[in-house]
């Protein structure tokens, strides 16, 4: 008797300990707590583009004018193109820019926070002076007019690196010629920006009629290479076309997060009320396992950042998570209803628990496998947003079965073995008089 009781207590203790652990990890301001505990690890949930704002671009390579022997070299060319794009949009390698190749010769670019990276040429008005800042006027030249940029070493300057910028022939060269002619006569400056980041200049301009400009300045070879990389669009090993794009402003993402969190809380709160109202003390056990389940899910999302399989939370992912809570409740309801039936046939609470739990298991298993099947199919064929939904729902189902098998089981065993607690209408079965 003593032995079983100690075993029960150890089980309960482990569950409570794990709950506290997952609770700390999933707390929104967990890093403050971790710091207090002298743990210097940073945890965070990676937000998808729809939640933080950003751009999602799909490019398709045009292999029609390129001689390719086989698929693997095709893939190689594509990988090279992806590397060039990555360097171009993310020169410092910072941030969470993702550039990856996909099937059908596609390259997918995800830019969080910023809108599409655009190389722009600006006219700088020197006369405005230092106090009022630089007067910038946009020109009609952009990254699309650039053919190629590469680093060369000028002999005149004693092996100093210079960047040779070649513009596309025709209209682009003409536009550049007109612009530089005007700037040279007015004494204006030229600057090149990538989004809001200055790439080159402001620098003096000379009239360049042939579309080949030498960019000089106070930079070393490494810096020159970086600038050239930024200017380069024509260096792509294969011409690429934009075939799909999606960009979401930061305000919409912020609003979505706020609304989803409110909806999630209201949803979970109404589940808790219903479960306690309908299943009484057993309902409290299920609420406890739901809390455990939610904490564990958030913790796994946070820990996933340390693995190769980072879970990125998207709007659809949040919906999947909330839906998975409902699935988790179903598991509890299945167990409780089975328990009630066993009680009706005259079993004691403890006996009803032992037989009811095992009998509920086959339906829990079979029912959840179908949900996992649908998640796998959604993941295989879905768009990134749908993949996010499938991952969260699938993760939810796996975790929920595990939680039922551990937390609900330990809690219910404690409840049914305790004669004081499992008296009267403890599982909402109604009491016969």
């Amino acid at each position: 008797m003593m032995k079983r009781k100690t075993k029960q207590r150890i089980g309960l203790f482990i569950v409570i300990l794990l709950t506290v652990f997952f609770g700390i990890v999933s707390y929104p301001n967990e890093n403050a707590i971790l710091k207090y505990l002298n743990i210097n690890e940073k945890l965070s949930v990676r937000r998808g583009l729809d939640l933080q704002g950003g751009a999602y671009l799909v490019y398709e390579a045009d292999f029609s004018n390129i001689e390719i022997e086989n698929d693997s070299s095709k893939q190689e060319v594509l990988e090279n193109a992806a590397t060039v794009i990555e360097r171009r949009i993310n020169p410092g390698g910072v941030g969470e820019t993702i550039v990856r190749t996909a099937e059908n010769g596609r390259i997918i670019v995800e830019l969080p926070g910023v809108r599409t990276a655009q190389l722009t040429f600006w006219e700088v008005d020197r006369s405005s002076g230092e106090e009022s800042g630089l007067g910038l006027t946009p020109t009609d030249l952009s990254g699309r007019d650039v053919a190629r940029a590469n680093v060369e070493f000028s002999h005149a300057g004693g092996a100093r690196p210079v960047i040779t910028l070649r513009l596309k022939s025709g209209e682009s060269t003409q536009k550049f010629s007109d612009l530089t002619a005007r700037l040279a006569s007015e004494g204006g400056l030229l600057a090149v920006f990538l989004d809001q980041q200055p790439v080159f200049g402001p620098a003096n301009a000379q009239h360049i009629p042939n579309g080949i400009a030498q960019l000089t300045g106070d930079f070393d070879t490494k810096e020159a290479n970086e600038i050239a990389t930024l200017l380069n669009a024509g260096a792509l090993p294969v011409p690429i076309n934009l075939v799909a794009q999606q960009s979401i402003g930061p305000s919409l993402g912020e609003l979505s997060v706020k609304q989803s969190v409110i909806a999630a809380f209201i949803g979970i709160f109404s589940i808790i009320l219903f479960m306690i109202f309908y299943y009484k003390k057993a309902g409290i056990v299920s609420v406890f396992s739901l809390v455990f389940y939610s904490f564990a899910t958030v913790s796994i999302i946070k820990f996933s950042a340390y693995t190769d399989y980072v879970i990125v939370l998207s709007l659809a992912g949040i919906a999947g998570f909330i839906l998975s809570i409902a699935v988790a409740v179903d598991t509890n309801i299945l167990i409780f209803e089975r328990l009630k039936e066993e009680l009706k046939s005259g079993q004691t609470p403890a006996g009803a628990f032992e037989s009811g739990f095992d009998r509920a298991w086959t339906s829990i298993r079979d029912a959840n496998i179908t949900t996992i099947i649908s998640c796998i199919i959604l993941y295989t064929f879905g768009t990134p947003a749908i993949k996010g939904f499938a991952v969260m729902l699938g993760l939810g189902v796996v975790l929920n079965v595990t939680t039922a098998w551990t937390v609900t089981k330990v809690g219910m065993r404690y409840l049914t073995r305790n004669k004081r607690l499992s008296r009267g209408n403890w599982i909402g079965q109604g009491v016969e008089k």
Partner: protein, 316 residues
């Protein structure tokens, strides 16, 4: 509530709801989103008249196909755009911004991507139905002679695909006609999720039937009725909880997932109905149909079984 005996009432109730929807679907079809047709969508915030929006589109040589105003001064504009480089859509964005609009979201999908998305949507539904029949037939492989394993699989597929999914698609066909609601890959996701949940629900009842069949095989329709009654509270409670959560998401969640949640909600209601009133009663209908067939064509066999039953009762 008597379920099995009144099964014809439940069937006709479903048909009454589904038939008009299916006819509507056949006549008007679905309003497909840019996911499947290609094109562009802009979501903006600001005060604009339809003429202003039309003028901006016309200035860029683009045709806009739909302007849908939404809450909080937001407007959804759909363009049919052939240029994929993003030049045109960016020019439109700039023009709108110059007139004081805030660009909330831009979506542009070229024909090659939309073709793939459409292909994947069809493929995923096909693979899903195949996977379900196979899994359910496998899970129920040890059932007795009364009902074949594949019949369990077939019943779940009819209930989930022909009943629930068709209901959701039908309602969205009406919504598309009346409110310009588009069917995009999110709606397909919702439908596949609904199918998964509906099967989840049905399997719990089937599981109980299987359990009972292992013990006693007296009267099949009674067995099914008992199984349904015993799992009824669980079915209703679970659906109630899921519907509660979905309602919270629908009322308080973001607008970008509104129709996705709505599709899930519709499917959930249909799925709860079908797993109680369609899937299991179908098993009984098939069982009785088989019996009738046997009695019609092989009277000797049925006489034999009857006489053998008499013998047994005599022994008792």
């Amino acid at each position: 509530m008597i379920i099995i005996a009144k099964r014809k009432l439940w069937y006709s109730l479903s048909i009454t709801v589904l038939l008009p929807l299916v006819i509507f679907l056949f006549i008007f079809g679905l309003r497909l989103g840019i996911d499947f047709t290609g094109g562009a969508i802009l979501e903006i915030k600001g005060n604009f008249s339809n003429e202003q929006i039309n003028d901006i589109a016309k200035a860029q040589g683009v045709q806009n196909v739909g302007i849908t105003p939404a809450e909080n001064n937001r407007i959804l504009i759909r363009y049919s755009i052939s240029d994929q480089s993003g030049t045109q859509i960016r020019a439109i964005e700039d023009a709108l911004r110059a007139q004081g609009a805030e660009i909330l979201r831009t979506d542009q999908i070229g024909p090659s991507v939309s073709r793939d998305l459409a292909k994947n949507a069809v493929l995923s539904v096909a693979v899903m139905s195949l996977a379900v029949v196979s899994y359910v037939s496998y899970a129920f492989r040890k059932t007795s002679r009364v009902i074949r394993p594949y019949q369990f699989g077939l019943a779940t597929v009819i209930a989930a695909f022909l009943h629930d999914a068709l209901f959701v698609i039908g309602v969205f066909s009406v919504l598309g006609k009346v409110m310009n609601v588009e069917v995009d890959s999110f709606i397909i996701t919702a439908i596949l999720t609904v199918i998964g949940f509906s099967i989840h629900d049905t399997i719990v009842v089937f599981d109980r039937i299987r359990e009972k069949l292992n013990v006693e095989v007296s009267n099949f329709s009674e067995t099914v009725e008992d199984s349904l009654q015993e799992t009824l509270v669980r079915s209703l409670n679970t659906s109630f909880v899921i519907i509660l959560v979905l309602l919270a998401l629908l009322l308080f969640g973001g607008e970008s997932t509104r129709y996705f949640i709505f599709a899930l909600l519709l499917g959930m209601v249909a799925g709860t109905y079908s797993s109680i009133f369609i899937a299991s009663p179908l098993l009984v209908s098939w069982n009785l149909h088989k019996k009738k067939k046997v009695e019609k064509f092989k009277p000797s066999v049925s006489r034999l079984t009857k006489s053998s039953n008499k013998k047994k009762s005599k022994k008792k």
